[in-house]
Symmetry: C2
Subunit: 485 residues, 2 copies
């Protein structure tokens, strides 16, 4: 604490007051003189404090009147809000997410001009020609591949390839430990069923991917939503509080890198602490690694699993977002529950078809894979930047967001009370599909959020759609304010 | 009862005494004179009774001594035993099947010279060349198929193809009702999860496919094993008794055609009665249709689903045994639970990869499919006949079996007390894999049974393996009798 200058400590104090609404937009900030009195600080410190909040976009100076809490000028300058960590949502308040999801998904199944709801890159980002020729050559190599019984336990080549690549994120395993699944979603099902049963409480990030909430609902498990920072991921303080409050938490599920939808990345130290915390509490930790390969730069971040020495971490991943959205090739490392995961996979869907496994294996082991990843990451970074610019340009005042350091989505907070469902409906009428925030929690906390895809090439059509979307949000946010007034 | 002649009624009476061991091999049958006295029947009826049992292979006439209960000369002449329907196994006596299954399966994963444990035909029976070219042409038709997001809800072409083919077994549905799954095993998981939960009792055939017992165990459901006839399938009398005895049966699962492992086929009237019974009791009926297309002849039998007018039947099937053992393409019709099945499928594994769906769809709609099925059925019939002959020739006295009217397996009863696990172990040492009867029930009732594959071309190597297997069984059955003595 001693290294943080006094004016910054005081600035955080007032920032917190602004964030939690004690000081509202338009409110007058205490005068410089008042600040000196109240906090016993110098004129210079009081001035520094106000200027810092002005620079950060929280205050505006009005001549001869002092500083006032301001509406942000540009959303991209205003970082996403940090969560309040001291408050947990009772998992007994659980409401069904599937109704919401299925309604949105079934509406979203009609063809649209612009699909901003996806969690993958556009087809052009993936090596379709190479995968096609690999498919043909694989069938030449194994002529009876489609008609002979599937070799038990998952394809050996793919398991070896994944084990080899896992070294890059700090995981050292044998090929035998890899269980191939139908995408990461089956891996998550198996992981949860390995460690918990109907009625159990599972701690999840909040907001979190609706797919996870749906899996929990389908298994009769209860999601305990843990406040999660848009920059550093799950709040360890809030998780510790949850563990003290509830004695029936049977697992913790996190996406440490490019969390869906936040895009947060856990600092190394947090990851280490999280693994140790779960280990100490004997609560299984389920790591969803769908996105880590999409983090900007050439260094793939270290997996939680790296720090796991007792098998308490179950690792789930897939090639879906990285290599080919058309393939359903995922995998799981079961840790202490390996035997049970094996059994559940066999009873769940048997072994996967082999053709796509071999194709994926061959590509993953080639240098073409590294070239593909480098190109994918740099293209995504450009597209993300363009999309963030468009949001800053077209979305109304009061919009907030972080631009994540990788991945295919941006999580956007619209002005308070803007209904993401109303925006979804209005956008769909314009043939634009968005992913509304109400899908990302069993609560209503994220109803004024949207997840915006940035995996598509930024064309004029896309720019038009972003402008239209901005206008829709502007309209819906005004409407709400009228109704509220 | 009046249409059964008196001598047949009496023959059944004595047959029952032989089957349950009241009359043992070598015992003298009551004399013709005694029979006349005891039953108050004519000489001619008494003689007819004895001759009938002689013809059926149960008695032998010894000159001047009368009739004696005989050891069967050839197993194939002795039909499989009908079950006792008046006795149910308490589902609370449930023991874990997975331990057994995983032990057997893991041992069986080493390469063997002769695999008699499979439930599919050999690769040569399936159209691998045609499927290969269809795969290549499909990729030409849809160049981005592997890299674009999977179209939601399962591939439209396949759903239409399956709906069209379903007409052949008396099912009339729209393509939209078809939910594509990863094989029939995922379909069964979804069906069971749609109608029941952990702790519930599910009525199943006995013996039944270990895969089903495993799924039930993994879901925490209890199997209530219903006696099942090797010729006519599940005993409706026993099922009715079960429904009267247990008020918590949440579903009935049956394979009406070519039941696995029995090979039984339910008569039309039984099927109709079963649908009506479940409907009346409001117990969901889950139909596993994995094999009906493999019934001998050109008429595909009518599905249970045909008689379902309230949506009480959930229909599960796959192309696995019919078209391509290397594909994991199954499907389910959810009946009244359609919306829940859709939700569960989405949460379970998302939608299937499209390439194999389109390949299957294209082939299924072509006339090549009909030609393939005709050839498949006639080849299987020949191979089944050869395998049955080998069993009759090489297996020891006391072996019993029915030759089913279709399919890829024969269910063989070895002499009493022969341990199928001991046979499994000894056969594996000779590089022969068999499927031991202990896998087909949570009880030990079928420990002296084997399921023998007959989907492979009957080569000299296969004949050698059958002879070796026969010797092993002979040895193990003697060994057991020694130990028992």
């Amino acid at each position: 604490m001693q290294t943080i200058p006094l004016y910054r400590q005081l600035a955080d104090h007032y920032l917190n007051a602004i964030r939690c609404g004690t000081l509202k937009v338009g409110d007058r900030m205490p005068s410089v003189r008042k600040l000196m009195q109240v906090h016993g600080v110098s004129l210079s410190t009081s001035l520094q404090l106000c200027r810092h909040l002005e620079t950060e976009g929280w205050l505006e100076a009005r001549p001869r009147s002092g500083y006032f809490v301001r509406q942000p000028r540009r959303a991209r300058l205003i970082p996403a809000q940090e969560p309040t960590v001291g408050k947990l949502i009772d998992p007994a308040q659980f409401v069904g997410i599937h109704e919401r999801v299925s309604e949105i998904i079934s509406q979203g199944q009609r063809p649209v001009k612009c699909n901003l709801a996806r969690a993958t890159g556009g087809p052009a980002l993936y090596p379709h020609q190479q995968l096609r020729s690999l498919t043909v050559s694989t069938l030449r190599r194994y002529p009876e591949l489609l008609t002979k019984p599937i070799s038990p336990g998952g394809n050996r080549e793919l398991k070896a390839a994944l084990a080899k690549r896992a070294l890059d994120c700090g995981i050292s395993i044998s090929a035998e430990e890899v269980v191939i699944t139908n995408g990461c979603i089956e891996a998550l099902n198996l992981a949860l069923r390995a460690v918990a049963q109907a009625g159990d409480v599972i701690a999840v990030e909040s907001p979190t991917f609706y797919g996870l909430l749906q899996v929990l609902e389908s298994l009769g498990m209860k999601a305990l939503e843990i406040p999660t920072s848009p920059s550093t991921g799950i709040s360890l303080e809030a998780l510790e509080l949850a563990m003290r409050t509830y004695d029936n938490i049977k697992a913790v599920v996190v996406v440490p890198h490019l969390q869906n939808p936040l895009g947060s990345i856990m600092p190394e130290q947090h990851k280490q602490r999280l693994v140790a915390l779960c280990e100490a509490q004997q609560i299984p930790l389920i790591e969803d690694d769908s996105y880590s390969t999409l983090v900007d730069g050439d260094k793939i971040p270290t997996a939680l699993k790296h720090w796991d020495h007792s098998g308490n971490v179950i690792f789930c991943a897939s090639v879906h977002k990285i290599l080919a959205p058309g393939l359903r090739v995922g995998w799981i490392l079961g840790g202490r529950w390996q035997a049970r995961v094996n059994m559940l996979k066999y009873a769940h869907t048997r072994y996967n078809e082999e053709l796509s496994q071999i194709v994926a294996a061959t590509f993953i082991l080639s240098s073409a894979y590294d070239r593909h990843l480098r190109k994918l990451r740099s293209t995504l970074a450009q597209q993300r930047e363009r999309t963030a610019e468009a949001i800053a340009t077209y979305f109304p005042e009061g919009t907030r967001m972080n631009t994540p350091a990788g991945g295919v989505s941006i999580w956007v907070e619209m002005p308070p009370n803007t209904s993401s469902k109303a925006v979804f409906d209005a956008a769909l009428e314009q043939s634009i599909l968005v992913s509304p925030g109400l899908l990302y929690s069993n609560s209503n906390r994220f109803d004024h959020f949207l997840r915006i895809n940035c995996g598509m090439p930024y064309t004029q059509d896309l720019d038009d759609a972003m402008r239209t979307l901005g206008r829709i949000i502007q309209h819906k946010s005004h409407l709400k304010q009228h109704i509220a007034a």
